[in-house]
């Protein structure tokens, strides 16, 4: 299973963290510091796997962002690379050629998408289209609720005028 997902910028800034195994706040900070030290310093041609505390961390760099996933020793590293790529493609479709800024200002959306992709550290949906459809449906639910709320407040405002 995937124990955690990290998105780290080249400068070492954390852009997204998702923990599927229990780590206390202190451990989380330590893990992030340790791993960014290891991963950000690795050369471009080296393999995408780092052995770390009995686990493996699979990472891949997309532009200025490193996508990292920590897995068990016996898991399939090559598949994790595909999952990372899968996630990036979905983000790309959702934001329309995604960049780091999209993920900073819409970090919650990045989380929503990840939650449609992984649960309990396991892959949930192999189809990019399905994920996009589910996210769109939920986004529209939020939009409708917003409109309703504003129309209600308009009505109230007019009534109390």
């Amino acid at each position: 299973m995937i124990h955690f997902v990290l998105l780290i910028s080249r400068q070492g800034k954390v852009r997204l963290t998702k923990w599927y195994s229990p780590y206390s706040q202190k451990e989380r900070t330590k893990v992030i510091r340790e791993l960014s030290g290891v991963i950000l310093t690795r050369g471009p041609k080296l393999c995408n796997f780092v052995e770390w505390r009995g686990y493996k961390v699979v990472y891949k760099r997309y532009a200025s962002l490193y996508f990292c996933m920590c897995i068990d020793q016996e898991d399939n590293e090559l598949e994790i690379l595909e999952i990372i790529h899968h996630y990036v493609e979905i983000l790309d479709r959702y934001f329309g050629s995604v960049c780091e800024l999209d993920l900073i200002f819409n970090f919650h959306k990045a989380y929503y998408i990840l939650d449609e992709l992984l649960i309990a550290g396991e892959l949930q949906e192999p189809s990019k289209k399905t994920v996009a459809r589910l996210i769109a449906a939920q986004d529209s639910l939020v939009e409708t609720a917003k409109e309703e709320a504003s129309s209600i407040s308009n009505i109230i405002a007019q009534a109390t005028k």
Binding site: K18, C47, F49, E79, L81, D115, I119, L134, Q138
Partner: protein
């Protein structure tokens, strides 16, 4: 509206934080925002609750504390609308983890949401539950999740399946409830449901043997068919990756088949065809295809044997290994490690390539390859492989040297065909990476050197040469210093020259130079320096021409601020100054170290520590020396002549042998000297060759010694002066005095009672007492018959009672069976056992024995150990 609750939107806050130039600025912005959010929380502000939580999540990601927002998540989750719930659940998953008490409060909301009519809300609840639920929550909500496995919408079913994985991992007892619903998931067509169903099935099989049995019998064929359909399916754009339909599902199916096939010939048989098809048909030019091949190889390696398939798998790995992509090479190495148990020969064929990988620029690959090489070494290839690795050691990265050195040392000691090769390789490693070598490794090397008596000259000369080039490698220095101390004369005289050696001219003063460099070097640590002192003492006797110089070096350290060095300097100085007559005997060469004992010590160190709790109550009326006996005493042990106690070398023997014990030595030996009073070994040692009764001359000695020391060492002086009057009576010998001069009177007098020897309490603890009775067979003075009597002092019967004894090499021990292996409680009966001990050095050395007693109280194992070194003289 609250004036403090800042109206800033999330976007504005993020912008403000990003605009910060320094960390302090950022902290200020965050503090202001947090204050505003806290104020809003206190106001119970509802309009901006979701915005505040979103801000908190961002702040949390930056690493600031956000615990005060946890309750806000719960409030949002409890509200009615989807937008609030969505952000609330996200916050819950981000800000909390399963170990927080607050999480329990959400159980009820989760339960309601799992039963909600809006399927997206159900989805949110399932996602949260799957990501952070605790064991209690898993128990409470398992029925809801189980029901949702049959929900009409497939997107809920797949979420429920993954949620179930978390539940059965947290509470494996619940596994059986999920077996049947899972079986129906495996028949689904929807990829999301199928993929999660297969995953759930795999995890069920891991936690529950019944589930494994069930799925193996019922589902193997179905799964094989699903995989076959997948492999042969036409192009499906929705799931296509690099020309393969849904590689994720491929991989999960292969993994489940592996679990089902492992250990079951029938199941393995039914999947052979499809595995062969996957292995041959899958395209290997893209990562997705390789991921499937990799999984397929692992499955082939794990299921029951099928020769043809394994050849196929090894060939795929061979192809991977020669791939230019580092990722592929990495997984190939990883998989070859598993393959090695299946087919060593096939892996051996790739040895050259693997060895190349050890030198790769990528640390991950190097590490894998090194592990693999380590597994590949055997008697026939150890020499070339070690040569490669040692050569590489010279050019490898600093951070890799530690791993590499450990592996080389392990290989060399495990497979070394002859001693000279072992010594050569170890010297190479020490000169290249001596700072990375662990203590056990060079300890073992010293033992081997000591045992290779024909190589002493060769070794010491090789070490001398190595020292000239690699004096900065700590462990090399230690071994060199030890060997020069022991075999310095062989170094100078070129004794035992081998044909392969170049002649070398070393003067006595050159040899002393080495030791002096070691003492004075700033990089040498305390242990090294302490060892160098011992070497100097030894050389002072071996090289009379350098005696004065050595004395000067030692005297220089009498004022050292490091207690250990100061103490050694003072002790050794007094030996050099005052005891010319015994010095040469004192510093004789170490006896050959017993390899078997050393290996036994290493292996036995674990049970020894286990036994400490039970051994805690052991009292030692008769000098059952616990292993921490005076190291300094041992260090000076000549193992010749009539020193009774130390020849048993009770302590950690390598420490003793090297005299490396630090700091605590003076205390330990001091206490020992007092408690054993009459048998103080050091006293004994130093009184060799002096008249047996020496109370008055020794008193003078002490006087002069302490006066001598007065000038440089005032603290010791303070100790020694008041104790002076005691010396003549020899009753309460001050330990420090013993160490300094060590001339107190009253060495143990041999108790020559003819052939009648007194009985001896060999061991006594709160629970067990052992008494030895001695007798000698007529006409054979070397042999002693020992009748051991065991008495149970506790109120429980002992069963499976086993007494074991070990003796040094000069003794031979024969144990007869005990009269019984049950020892009745409260001393109601005695078990006896006969031992026959033959002393090959009768008259020179006394008996000494280590004993170990194992038994069971109420079926609980107990282990006690001790050492007997107070045998009557003359046995």
């Amino acid at each position: 509206m609250n004036p403090f609750s800042s109206g800033t939107r999330l976007r504005d806050m993020i912008r403000a934080i990003r605009a910060c130039k320094t960390a302090a600025e950022e902290r200020a912005v965050v503090r202001k925002e947090c204050a505003a959010i806290r104020a809003a929380i206190n106001e119970n502000d509802q309009d901006y609750r979701h915005r505040n939580l979103a801000k908190l999540m961002f702040i949390h990601m930056l690493g600031y504390p956000t615990h005060f927002g946890q309750m806000e998540c719960l409030k949002l989750i409890a509200s009615a609308g989807f937008p609030e719930k969505r952000i609330g659940y996200l916050g819950l998953m981000l800000l909390l983890d399963e170990r927080q008490e607050v999480l329990m409060l959400v159980t009820n909301s989760l339960k309601q949401d799992l039963n909600h009519t809006n399927q997206y809300i159900v989805g949110l609840a399932l996602c949260a539950l799957g990501n952070i639920c605790s064991a209690e929550m898993a128990r409470d909500l398992a029925p809801e999740v189980e029901r949702l496995l049959q929900f009409r919408d497939p997107n809920i079913r797949k979420k429920a399946a993954l949620c179930s994985i978390r539940i059965i991992k947290k509470v494996p007892d619940l596994a059986e409830n999920f077996i049947n619903p899972t079986a129906s998931l495996l028949k689904e067509k929807h990829h999301g449901v199928l993929i999660t169903g297969v995953q759930l099935c795999t995890d069920l099989c891991k936690v529950s043997p019944e589930a494994l049995e069930f799925f193996r019998n019922k589902c193997t064929d179905g799964l094989v068919k699903t995989l076959r359909d997948m492999v042969n399916s036409p192009y499906a754009p929705e799931y296509d990756i690099a020309g393969i339909t849904d590689p994720f599902l491929h991989i999960r199916l292969l993994r489940l088949l592996r679990v089902l096939g492992q250990g079951d010939a029938d199941a393995s048989d039914s999947m052979n065809d499809i595995l062969a098809q996957v292995a041959t048909k899958t395209e290997s030019n893209k990562n997705a295809g390789n991921a499937i091949l990799y999984e397929c190889v692992e499955t082939i390696m794990s299921i029951e044997d099928n020769g043809g398939l394994r050849v196929l798998a090894i060939n795929i790995l061979g192809r991977f290994l020669s791939n230019r992509d580092n990722n592929i090479r990495y997984v190939a190495l990883n998989m070859l490690m598993k393959a090695i148990t299946v087919d060593t020969q096939a892996v051996q064929r790739h040895r050259a390539t693997i060895l190349e990988c050890v030198k790769d620029s990528d640390a991950s690959i190097r590490k894998r390859a090194l592990e693999l090489v380590y597994l590949l070494v055997n008697e026939s290839n150890v020499k070339p492989l070690t040569k490669e690795l040692v050569d590489y050691l010279e050019v490898s990265d600093q951070e890799f040297k530690g791993d590499l050195t450990a592996k080389i040392c392990s290989i060399v000691s495990k497979f070394s065909p002859e001693k000279i090769w072992y010594i050569d390789q170890m010297l190479k490693v020490l000169s290249e990476a001596g700072n990375f070598v662990k203590d056990e490794v060079w300890h073992a090397l010293v033992v081997v050197i000591s045992n290779a008596s024909d190589l002493h000259g060769y070794t010491v000369r090789a070490l001398y040469r190595a020292f000239q080039t690699s004096a900065e490698q700590e462990c090399l220095v230690r071994v060199a210093v030890w060997c020069i101390g022991e075999y310095g004369d062989l170094l100078v005289n070129n004794v035992g020259m081998l044909d392969i050696e170049d002649p070398i001219t070393v003067t006595e003063s050159d040899a002393v130079d080495v030791i002096e460099i070691a003492i004075k070097s700033h990089t040498s640590d305390l242990t090294t320096k302490a060892m160098a002192f011992v070497a100097l003492l030894k050389l002072s006797s071996r090289f009379p021409s350098c005696s004065e110089r050595i004395k000067d070096i030692i005297v220089h350290y009498k004022g050292s601020l490091v207690l250990e060095l100061q103490q050694r300097a003072i002790e050794f100085n007094s030996i050099i100054m005052k005891h010319q007559n015994i010095r040469s005997a004192l510093v004789e060469r170490m006896p050959v170290l017993d390899e078997a004992t050393f290996i036994g010590k290493r292996a036995g160190s674990i049970p020894a520590t286990v036994s400490t709790p039970t051994a805690g109550s052991i009292n030692m009326p008769n000098g059952i020396a616990k292993p921490s006996a005076a190291p300094l005493v041992d260090l000076l042990d000549l193992s010749s002549d009539d020193a009774p106690a130390p020849s048993s070398s009770g302590g950690d023997f390598l420490q003793d042998l090297l005299g490396v014990d630090l700091l605590s030595s003076s205390k330990t030996s001091g206490v020992n000297a007092v408690s054993q009073n009459g048998t103080d070994a050091l006293l004994d040692l130093l009184s060799i060759g002096s008249p047996p009764v020496q109370s008055s001359p020794s008193a003078h000695d002490i006087l002069s010694a302490s006066q001598d020391n007065k000038t440089s060492v005032s603290p010791l002086d303070g100790l020694s002066s008041p104790s002076y009057p005691n010396q003549s009576t020899s009753a309460g010998v001050t330990p420090v005095m013993d160490l300094l001069g060590g001339f107190a009177a009253d060495p143990p007098k041999p108790e020559d009672n003819g052939s009648a020897y007194p009985s001896l309490v060999a061991f006594e603890s709160s629970s067990l007492k052992i008494v030895f009775n001695f007798s000698k067979p007529p006409g054979n003075p070397q042999t002693t018959l020992v009748q051991a009597e065991f008495t149970n002092l506790s109120s429980d019967n002992y069963t499976d009672f086993v007494f074991q004894a070990a003796v040094p090499k000069f003794l031979q021990l024969h144990l007869d069976p005990a009269s019984s292996n049950t020892l009745p409680a409260s001393g109601n009966g005695v078990v006896t056992q006969s031992l026959k001990v033959t002393n090959s050095q009768h008259g020179k050395k006394s008996l000494v024995m280590r004993i170990r007693i194992a038994y069971k109280i109420n079926n609980k194992d107990v282990l006690e150990e001790g050492q007997v070194n107070n045998f009557p003289r003359g046995l």
